[in-house]
């Protein structure tokens, strides 16, 4: 099938008065049947309510505290196509794409936009749409429920971009590790954005770890085509008591990509959980991560690393909600902003009245490499318990001039010295990545990124000198 045969349902033209929300409301009203027929009952069951709420509240504005650094409505204003009729976009990822992390033995899943390609069955992993059909009870128990378990989210309700995702998402990924089980290999999910026309993608990920389950999951975002993409993604994660999860997210797309990702996670007691968010190359990115520690003695590590230049925009907004006592949270976000890039970090740690013996540390360090780059940083600590150990802090700085001089005196050229210092700065975050092959790969990718050798995604054939022609079925 040729790429131009993809039927993309266009959004209706914008109405006057700058009401960006109405095109989505109209589209939903006219295409509701098509959306539902391309999905499954469990997902369809919550659409109408989400759309109703969206119609009532619209997009968040810059006046809202959690959205003050990213104008959501502007990002959603252009006229994107949506693949509501579920046309399979022709791609054989193995031929055109290698997201190789050497020495890392992983189970691999490709997601083309939001549709999974499972070449062979992987234990505990399936398409979300298929899971709705195969295990409707399990999916229904968790799907779209996470926000209601996180008090600070349920109090304010989901943002407009989350509601849109719930209304339009038709597929995605479902990972369910039963009680006491562990995944044999790390799961690597390669999201590939593909489209011949400007495209909106609504992807949903549901991860459920039952009691004592263990998993390592790596989500990589790439874009193969140079058209504009608008991605909404909602990742719901349920970690039951004594479970262990390492979740990595890596974005390596291009400057015409807009990404709105919302991670919602609840963590039971005695869990060890880490979340690493790495933005290596992007256009406009808003990552929201909300975590509720609902059980005692759990540990969460949240790390983030941002490399931004040109006019790239990265907004990380996190919340760690300490509800239960004796939990530990460690958060470290580091960002390098060059050229005219904008980076924002707002991290809120909430220690509720009953969360005694909480230990929490939040750090945000930024490197502002030019006069024109902008950094916003907002660490927030709210404590309502009286027996806790908490700290938060942030810095914005330039490269250490004395260190530069010292290196130059040893003969290291200024450009190389700057590179070493930038690498060292974000390297602190990468060093905390538990998977060693991934850690090595990330060091390598970040070095390439700073050297300007990472113009788009490194793995895709479009960046290589002799790309394979796109064709479906070859080698299948």
């Amino acid at each position: 099938m040729k790429a131009n045969e993809i039927v993309a349902t266009p959004l209706s033209p914008r109405r006057g008065g700058g009401d960006e929300a109405s095109q989505y409301i109209d589209l939903y009203a006219s295409q509701r049947e098509l959306i539902c027929s391309g999905s499954a009952p469990v997902m369809n069951a919550v659409r109408d309510a989400a759309m109703q709420q969206f119609a009532a509240q619209g997009f968040p504005t810059l006046k809202e505290e959690r959205y003050r650094y990213t104008d959501v409505a502007v990002a959603f204003a252009p006229d994107y196509g949506l693949n509501l009729s579920r046309v399979r976009i022709p791609v054989n990822p193995r031929e055109v794409f290698r997201c190789d992390v050497p020495n890392l033995s992983t189970d691999l899943v490709y997601l083309v936009n939001d549709q999974p390609l499972l070449e062979k069955p992987i234990p505990y992993v399936s398409s979300l749409r298929q899971a709705c059909i195969d295990h409707p009870d399990i999916v229904a128990k968790y799907y779209n429920k996470c926000a209601s378990v996180i008090p600070s989210l349920s109090e304010k309700g989901p943002g407009g971009e989350v509601l849109l995702n719930t209304a339009f998402a038709q597929d995605g990924l479902f990972v369910h590790v039963p009680r006491g089980e562990r995944m044999n290999h790390p799961l690597q999910v390669i999201n590939i954005l593909r489209s011949p026309v400007d495209m909106m993608v609504n992807r949903r990920v549901l991860i459920v770890l039952e009691e004592g389950a263990e998993a390592t999951i790596l989500l990589c975002d790439h874009a193969m085509d140079t058209v504009s993409f608008l991605t909404t993604q909602v990742i719901e994660v349920f970690c039951a008591d004594r479970s262990r999860l390492d979740l990595y997210e890596l974005e390596e797309t291009h400057t015409s990509c807009r990404r709105f990702s919302n991670l919602q996670m609840t963590v039971g007691s005695d869990c060890v959980v880490s979340h690493n968010s790495i933005t290596l190359y992007n256009g406009l990115t808003r990552n929201t991560a909300d975590v509720a520690l609902t059980g005692e003695r759990s540990e969460i590590t949240m790390n983030g690393c941002v490399v931004a230049d040109k006019n790239q925009h990265v907004d990380n907004n996190t919340l760690i909600d300490h509800i239960a006592p004796s939990c530990t949270s460690r958060e470290l976000y580091k960002c390098v902003a060059d050229d005219e890039a904008v980076s924002a970090f707002a991290g809120r740690i909430l220690v509720r009245k009953d969360a005694q013996k909480t230990s929490s540390k939040e750090t945000n360090n930024n490197l502002c490499a030019t006069d024109t780059a902008r950094i916003y940083t907002q660490p927030m600590l709210e404590i309502y318990a009286d027996d806790v150990q908490c700290s938060h802090g942030s810095t914005v700085g330039v490269l250490d001039q004395q260190a530069l001089f010292y290196m130059q005196q040893r003969g290291i050229a200024e450009a190389e010295a700057r590179l070493l210092l930038k690498n060292a700065f974000v390297g602190q975050v990468i060093e905390q990545v538990r998977l060693q092959p991934l850690r090595d790969r990330l060091h390598h990718l970040i070095d390439k990124r700073f050297r300007g050798e990472l113009n788009k995604c490194t793995g895709c054939a479009l960046c290589e000198p002799h790309p394979q022609p796109l064709s479906e079925g070859r080698g299948a």
């Binding site: 130059q408 005196q409 290291i412 050229a413 070493l420 060292a424």
Partner: protein, 265 residues
């Protein structure tokens, strides 16, 4: 090797060096002594090309090259090395990364190929033994968490790796106890060849017991006011600097800029 003529230099508009003339020939060791703020560290920083200092007059030639026209890194790869008074900590950059970049830059300037990883590690091991530096230190980030003595020893280790032809030891003795001083000085002596020249900056005779200078200069208020043999250092040790000050024809009443210069180093 190094010729300095009528050098004037200032920092933030404040003149620190007021006409320095100094010639150091191949294989010679010159000691530069003087009180705090006399301009000793300014002189060494100007030679290596610290960006904060501005040369307003005069010239420096290094093996016939106009040094003041060269970038800091090019001066280094041409063979000039400064042992820092306060070596800089660089968290996150490992000694190996740092030394490898530096050694390869020097090799490139000498027209040699980059060292293979295995050859580089062997070189690290050899030189480490020479200056008696612990392997644990070279596996860490540059100077991070090093004690004062370890930092100074690390400077000599770097000197061993880079094999410079002209070395500046900027108060290498400050903050060292006698044993550490001996190790550092002996390390330097082992590394010296017949062609190596050095400028040794110090307040005290102590370091010069280990590193024997051919010539001793006294710097006061931005000028070299007295030059002599090794016996001059002994005389200063015995009598202090005041008797030299009284010899100076036109002492400047203004000493405040000097303390500023030393705080920047």
């Amino acid at each position: 090797m190094l010729e300095i003529h009528n050098l004037h230099a200032s920092i933030a508009g404040k003149e620190i060096l007021r006409g320095i003339d100094l010639t150091i020939r191949d294989g010679e060791i010159h000691a530069l002594m003087g009180t705090n703020g006399a301009g000793k560290s300014t002189l060494s920083n100007v030679i290596v090309g610290h960006p904060a200092y501005e040369v307003t007059e005069g010239s420096i030639t290094f093996n016939g090259q106009d040094l003041l026209q060269m970038k800091t890194e090019d001066r280094a790869t041409a063979g000039i090395f400064m042992s820092f008074q306060q070596p800089v900590e660089i968290p996150g950059v490992s000694m190996q990364q740092f030394m490898r970049a530096a050694v390869n830059a020097r090799r490139k300037a000498l027209g040699q190929d980059e060292l293979k990883a295995s050859d580089f590690l062997r070189l690290m091991r050899e030189k480490r033994k020479l200056v008696e530096i612990d392997s644990r230190l070279v596996n860490r980030s540059v100077n991070e968490g090093f004690s004062g003595g370890e930092k100074k020893r690390n400077e000599i280790f770097q000197m061993a790796m880079l094999e410079p032809t002209f070395c500046i030891l900027d108060e290498t003795d400050s903050g060292l106890d006698v044993d550490a001083l001996r190790i550092v000085a002996e390390g330097f002596n082992k590394l010296r060849t017949a062609e190596t020249s050095a400028l040794v900056i110090t307040h005290y005779q102590r370091l010069l017991d280990y590193i024997r200078p051919n010539v001793v200069h006294v710097l006061l208020d931005g000028r070299i006011v007295k030059t002599g043999g090794p016996e001059l250092a002994q005389e200063i040790e015995n009598r202090g600097f005041d008797w030299i000050k009284s010899l100076t024809p036109n002492p400047s009443p203004n000493g405040e800029g000097n303390s500023r210069s030393s705080s920047l180093i």
